[in-house]
């Protein structure tokens, strides 16, 4: 796609280069939108640059919060204005990347002691692999896995199914039967909405401040992935990694070991806002959060910009069905959100609760589907 646009000549090449520039800056522009834009330009004349700008906004549909950025790129491309940051000046912080667990291929060997010594340590990030040993929480997790299937959050499906005792009569089906039975109704048929499990998305903080707990968190998510139909698990530290696939392995020790190989940023710094942004920047990941129950296992100690974290949580709040944030700090009964990041994010959370032990995490996740949860947001 990009190659083709670069090669295109003639008057439309300039417009195509603009859409390529937008894609390069992280805007999602589909080919049909480009076509609509070109058709719009032709339709409008265009008499002035304003026409082109307005038609670009209407057809390429940048999200409202990025209008300013969009306009800056537009000015840069069509007016030759200088945009700070576009010149590719070297930034001191590596941009957050999202890692994919399907690229697991070349390194299936785990439990390798030499990895630890070969760890690369940089000033900004400490990346090394870690080995997991199964804890003694097995019995609690087994009990959790037994209880979960009956208590996962459900959503109503779009389709109906017939049922013996339902919420309404399945009139359509009764008429189909009646047609076969000379217009007589013999049986009352009922129907109800099909129920489906809501997806549960778990984000695990693996930064240094959560060091003590990451192992228990991974063991918990392994139990969760095995027990529920639709779960996605990510770790976030200085980068974001999807670890759902290795956690699907039946054997816990093996699952945790494979997962831990994927995660490269154990015990590094915390950039929660950036990690959440990185999650939302991948459209496929963002789609996973749509209508899902989001569980964040983190102490919320944000080293980056607290307002960035609040903005990201606000975006999650619009995507997700519910957000619960489980922090070990809340094990203290007098706990209140005090750090700037947590205070700013608090209004968007449905629940901020104790995540200090496996017991409390399990209890909170089992309570996801209870009704009173939604009311806490107002409080």
């Amino acid at each position: 796609m990009t190659d083709a646009t670069a090669d295109a000549t003639g008057p439309i090449a300039h417009f195509l280069r603009f859409t390529a520039l937008l894609r390069g800056s992280g805007f999602a522009v589909a080919p049909e939108q480009t076509m609509a834009w070109l058709a719009a330009i032709e339709l409008l004349g265009p008499r002035e640059l304003g026409d082109i700008r307005r038609s670009a906004r209407a057809t390429l549909a940048p999200p409202p919060e990025r209008f300013a950025e969009f306009d800056a790129l537009f000015d840069a491309h069509f007016l030759g204005a200088i945009v700070p940051g576009l010149e590719g000046e070297p930034s001191d912080e590596e941009p957050m990347r999202a890692a994919e667990d399907s690229a697991i291929g070349p390194q299936p060997e785990f439990a390798d002691e030499t990895r630890e010594s070969g760890a690369e340590a940089t000033t900004a990030e400490r990346l090394f692999a870690r080995r997991f040993t199964p804890g003694d929480e097995s019995e609690k997790l087994r009990r959790f896995a037994r209880l979960l299937p009956r208590r996962v959050p459900l959503r109503r499906g779009y389709r109906w199914r017939s049922a013996n005792a339902g919420l309404g009569t399945d009139t359509r089906r009764m008429f189909r039967d009646a047609m076969r039975q000379a217009g007589e109704f013999f049986r009352l048929r009922q129907r109800r909405r099909r129920l489906r499990q809501r997806r549960i998305v778990v984000l695990i903080d693996v930064s240094g401040s959560m060091k003590e707990r990451t192992q228990a968190h991974l063991a918990f998510t392994h139990a969760l992935v095995r027990a529920a139909d639709s779960v996605e698990v990510f770790t976030m530290g200085t980068r974001l990694t999807r670890i759902t696939r290795p956690l699907r392995l039946r054997n816990r020790e093996q699952a945790l070991a494979t997962a831990s190989l994927l995660v490269a940023d154990w015990d590094g710094g915390t950039r929660i806002g950036d990690a959440l942004d990185a999650y939302l920047a991948v459209p496929r990941f963002a789609a996973l959060a749509r209508g899902a129950a989001l569980v964040v296992l983190s102490d919320g100690l944000e080293r980056g910009d607290p307002s960035a974290m609040a903005d990201a949580v606000a975006r999650f709040a619009r995507l997700c069905w519910r957000i619960i944030w489980l922090t070990p700090l809340a094990a203290d009964p007098g706990f209140e959100a005090r750090t700037a990041g947590m205070v700013a994010a608090r209004p968007y959370l449905d629940r901020l609760a104790d995540g200090g032990s496996i017991d409390s995490i399990c209890a909170n996740v089992l309570d996801l589907a209870t009704e009173n949860l939604g009311n806490e947001k107002a409080a």
């Binding site: 307005r54 209407a58 057809t59």
Partner: protein
């Protein structure tokens, strides 16, 4: 890409803006461009914005300009095909069966007369006379959004008993969303998009003067200034344009009955702020805001 050069004699955004003004809707240049492009390119128009900025009003005005019947589909959580597409008229089917119980085999109970049209089917069957407004789509579940995606790309639906029904021309469709949640990228992509913001003070004043009867220019300006201030406060429910118009009207009414000016605004505050918490929050500063607005 199919292009309609003129729509009921309108061949540029400028002309659409004028036509909308004649229908008592003040559109800015951006909205007029987006709406014109949607009509000309035969794509749905997606309007997003905070509650009360005039999304539904815009759709009504466009329907008025086009001279089409507006079919409004209000979305809600749990909306299903029976509410959006069609439903069989079961009582009539049953009566028809009973009346001809012997000839039940020859009776077709899936004829048109037994079909109850809902907005989306009605729009498909009469694409030239109707305009479909799918209101507050952010309230529906994502299954409905997925179904809508299919509907908006092919403009056809299938009824198992009847087969596929397809629009012979691309219908005009407008979608609105309050952005309480984000819509699917694929849906945004299929539409021409416009974000309606709160109007500028100048434009809001012209809206009030046009919509409200007998409001003096001074009162309108004071309302616009005060409402602008209120929108910067952290309120649960920000006052929309309709609230501003109503406030101007209510205060004018009280003023005619003898209330003095700042007092008239203050007593009719319930028209603008409809939340107890908001009223409590603003109470200590309301005098200062009104005095500033009056100046």
């Amino acid at each position: 890409m199919p292009v309609r050069q003129t729509i009921v004699g309108i061949s540029s955004p400028r002309e659409l803006e004028d036509a909308l003004r004649a229908a008592y809707y003040l559109a800015d240049e951006e909205l007029a461009t987006a709406a014109y492009l949607a009509l000309a390119l035969g794509k749905p128009l997606l309007l997003e914005g905070a509650p009360g900025v005039g999304k539904t009003e815009a759709a009504k005005a466009i329907a008025g300009v086009l001279g089409r019947t507006l079919l409004r589909l209000q979305c809600y959580e749990g909306i299903d095909a029976a509410a959006a597409l069609y439903e069989w008229n079961f009582p009539r089917q049953m009566l028809a069966l009973r009346q001809q119980s012997d000839a039940a085999i020859t009776l077709d109970i899936y004829r048109d007369e037994f079909l109850i049209e809902r907005p989306m089917l009605a729009c498909l069957r009469r694409p030239q006379e109707t305009m479909l407004l799918i209101d507050e789509i952010d309230r529906s579940d994502h299954e409905f959004e997925a179904f809508l995606l299919e509907f908006l790309s092919d403009f056809q639906i299938s009824i198992p008993e009847r087969g596929t029904i397809r629009a012979y021309e691309r219908p005009v469709v407008i979608l609105t969303s309050n952005r309480t949640r984000e819509l699917h990228e694929a849906l945004r992509r299929r539409c021409v998009y416009h974000w309606i913001d709160y109007p500028t003070a100048d434009r809001e004043m012209r809206i009030i003067m046009m919509r409200a009867s007998g409001v003096s220019e001074r009162a309108a300006r004071a309302v616009v200034t005060a409402v602008g201030r209120l929108r910067r406060e952290p309120l649960a429910k920000l006052p929309g344009i309709a609230e501003a118009v109503e406030w101007a009207e209510a205060a004018t009414l009280l003023n005619e009955q003898g209330a003095r000016w700042p007092e008239a605004f203050k007593r009719s505050l319930g028209v603008v702020l409809k939340d107890e918490d908001d009223l409590v929050h603003i109470a200590p500063r309301i005098d200062a805001i009104l005095n500033e607005a009056q100046a």
